[in-house]
Subunit: 214 residues, 2 copies
DNA sequence: ATGCTTGTTGATTGACCAGTCAATCTACCG
DNA sequence: CGGTAGATTGACTGGTCAATCAACAAGCAT
């Protein structure tokens, strides 16, 4: 997940030192933020986890907040990409939504700590979210909303639903399932992700489809 | 909402001074936390908002964290009470779930700042949530789960659903809707709460009911 | 009155930590 | 080489703020 190397130096000339330090810092930040939360984490913790000197963090990032923002943008961008990709695919609307749900739920298995930071630290911090960031969230929701609209046109989604609220309901359900996992509220079963996906499909996607003609 | 007076002195003898200072502090904390977030709030902000001296906060609460905890417990206790009340009522399972959903969504209208702190700040501090607190969350979820089980027995909920996940899906949807409102992601419409309730009912509660016999 | 308990005050303390900076190092270039 | 530009280091600083505390007030009991 997220192996896009973004170097200190943008042009590919010179620079043999560095060795992807920026990436190292980001990965360390994910780990530390996930463990202690954003405010509970010291920049020195991150530096230590990354195995670099304290000051170097400030060579790559303006400050602690930028670090969290970069983290969010990188991860959310991945989600956005996937949503766009699915949206453009020739699948039916319901299957599209299912694919996106799967991406989020599987994403947790792939990189739980990153998901924890995303879900727990970033999305809820309206005080941190700035224009750029809010815009990315809005866009994801907007794209999902369009898929719901598409579903209405296809006849697989009830026309008496508010697409925006339907989108929030779907996203919220997924977010909560991941939060449950993060908080360790319940013992995880094997195939937990598959089961969760199935339940979301049955309840929410099922709940969106028009009632069978009688 | 939440007018249960809890005095510094527990027994009702003596104590004519005080004048509900503890309550004042709690209400001030709700306001300040909602505005600036837990970590962004200074204890002095809360004291100021409450119109009392800095040190007095520490007369009523062990520390800043206890304040957040007390806030959470007070509010969550209200939710728990309501869930128990509804659960014990003679309503059908689907109507029970609807009532609880309504309580949460209307609760936002009644005291948006309190809901904001609950939804945004508390979950975020999974690192702060201690045994006692986690237990309360678990209990609420457990009660909801039992109502879902009840629905299965009544035949208004599909038997092929995992009750626990169904519960998380319902709660998550509600939580997200409130989060949307808190973040101001969308312009609020009039009757937003009613519409939201209706959508949750159609999609999720509807999605839980067994498919019509063909 | 006298003393005890609880309430109330706000200045002070002490810890903590984000961010800076001057120094050193590494690589590359002409 | 000698020079330049970025990379890397970690000690230090300055500000912030949670928590303490000593002093004073208010109510109550005897």
């Amino acid at each position: 997940m997220g192996d896009t190397e973004v170097r200190g130096r943008v042009d590919s000339t010179s620079n043999t030192v560095d060795g992807g330090k920026r990436e190292r810092i980001l990965r360390a930040a994910v780990k530390v933020f996930a463990q202690k939360g954003y405010f509970g984490s010291r920049v020195s913790d991150i530096a230590e986890e990354a195995g670099i000197a304290y000051g170097l963090v400030y060579h790559y990032f303006k400050n602690k907040e930028e670090l969290l923002l970069a983290l969010f943008q990188e991860s959310w961008d991945l989600l956005l990409r996937r949503i766009r990709e699915v949206r453009a695919s020739p699948l039916g609307a319901r299957e599209k939504l299912r694919q996106i749900a799967a991406f989020l739920l599987k994403g947790f298995r792939a990189d739980p700590e990153r998901m924890e930071v995303l879900v727990v630290e970033v999305i809820r911090s309206s005080k941190i979210l700035k224009g750029q960031t809010l815009e990315m969230i809005r866009e994801a929701f907007h794209l999902l909303e369009e898929i719901v609209e598409e579903g209405k046109r296809e006849g697989v989604v009830r026309k008496d639903l508010d697409s925006r609220l339907a989108t929030s309901i779907l996203y919220g359900a997924l977010d909560q399932i991941i939060t449950d996992w993060v908080l360790g509220l319940y013992p995880r079963r094997r195939d937990e992700e598959e089961l969760a996906l199935e339940m979301v499909d049955r309840i929410i996607l099922g709940g969106m489809t028009p009632p069978a003609r009688t």
